[in-house]
Amino acid sequence: MTTARPSNKITSRPLTARTLVSELKKEPSELKKKMLLLGYITDRLERKSQSVYLVGGQAVETYTAGQFTTGDIDITTTDQEATEEILARLGFKREGTVWINEAISVAVHIVDMVPKRVEKVRTIHVRNYAVRVVGVEELIIDRLAAAKFWKSQRDAEQAKALLSGFSKSIDVKYLRRRAKEEKVDDVLPK
C-alpha cells in the first residue's frame, strides 16, 4: 500500500522569517524579491487584522515592471509597531526613519501610519502571498502633485508612463475628481 507523501514544496507552507531571508538572498529578480518580502509582511499583518500598502516609487516600479526604478520600498501601515517588529525579525536595522537589511540589500521606509486612500488599491499575488499596491489613479495624482509643486520632471514622466500603461483600466472619472481635489487637474494630461 502506498501512502501519499506530504508535499514539501516551500510555496505550500508559510515561510519562517529565516527561510524567507535565505530565499530572498537567492532571488535573482529584484522586483520579485521586494514583492515576496512585502507579501510576507502583508501576510503577517493581515493575521492581526492590520494592513500594509505599497506606495511611492516602489509602486511605480511595480506598475512599470521595473522600468522606472527606485531605491527604497515606501509603505504605509495601520500598525507601525507590528510592522517594525516583523522587519526586525527579518534582520532589518533601523537607520533614522528607514529600515535596512544589508544581507538582502533592501531598504524599507514607513512613510505614513495610516493609508490615505485605499479604494483603488490593486492586489498582486506572488506565491501564496498578496501584496496591496496603492491604486494607479492615486499614484498618478501623487506624481502630478510632485511635478507641479516640486517641479519634478521625473515625477511628471512617471505619471505619463502610468497613464499610458494603464489607459484601459484606469477609472477616469475618479482620476479627474481626485486631480481636482488635489489641484493638479491643470497638469493632468488629456
Binding site: L31, V126, S152, E157
Partner: protein
C-alpha cells in the same frame, strides 16, 4: 579621432580610436576605453575625461555628438536609466523624489512607457478586477 563601438558578449562598449595610414591601408588604432555604451550615453564621467585629456587633445563636442548618434537597444536604455536614477536613500532629501535632470532623447519616454507596459503584461497575469498574479 572618433568613437567606435565594440560588442563583447551581450554588452557594447565604446572606445576612442583614430585612423593610422599604413601604406595603402588605413588601420584603426584604439586610443582608450570610454566605457559601456549604456553608461556613457548620459555623458563621459569626469575622471575618464580627465585621464584622456592628459594624453590627447580631444574635441569633446565632436565626440559627444558621435556618442549621441549611437542607436541604443531597449536594454541599454533601461540600464542607462537604472544607473542614472537609482535613488540612494542616504542621499534622499526632502523635496527630492528622484535624481537626474538630463534631458531625454526625443521619443525616449514614449519608448520607455511602451516597454514598461509590455513588461508589466509579461510579468503580471491579470486574474480579476484590479488583481494580478506575478509569474
Amino acid at each position: 579621432m572618433f568613437v567606435r563601438v565594440k560588442k563583447v558578449g551581450p554588452r557594447r562598449y565604446a572606445y576612442l580610436v583614430d585612423g593610422v595610414r599604413e601604406g595603402k591601408r588605413v588601420r584603426q588604432r584604439t586610443l582608450c576605453y570610454l566605457g559601456p555604451v549604456s553608461k556613457i550615453v548620459s555623458g563621459i564621467p569626469e575622471n575618464v575625461r580627465k585621464k584622456i585629456e592628459e594624453r590627447f587633445q580631444v574635441n569633446w563636442d565632436k565626440i559627444n555628438y558621435e556618442i549621441r548618434r549611437i542607436p541604443l537597444t531597449f536594454e541599454e536604455i533601461s540600464r542607462a536609466r537604472r544607473a542614472q536614477f537609482a535613488v540612494s536613500i542616504r542621499n534622499r532629501k526632502m523635496g527630492f523624489r528622484s535624481q537626474g535632470d538630463l534631458p531625454r532623447a526625443e521619443g525616449e519616454l514614449a519608448a520607455l512607457s511602451k516597454l514598461a507596459a509590455i513588461k508589466f503584461r509579461k510579468m503580471f497575469e491579470e486574474i480579476g478586477e484590479r488583481e494580478y498574479r506575478m509569474r
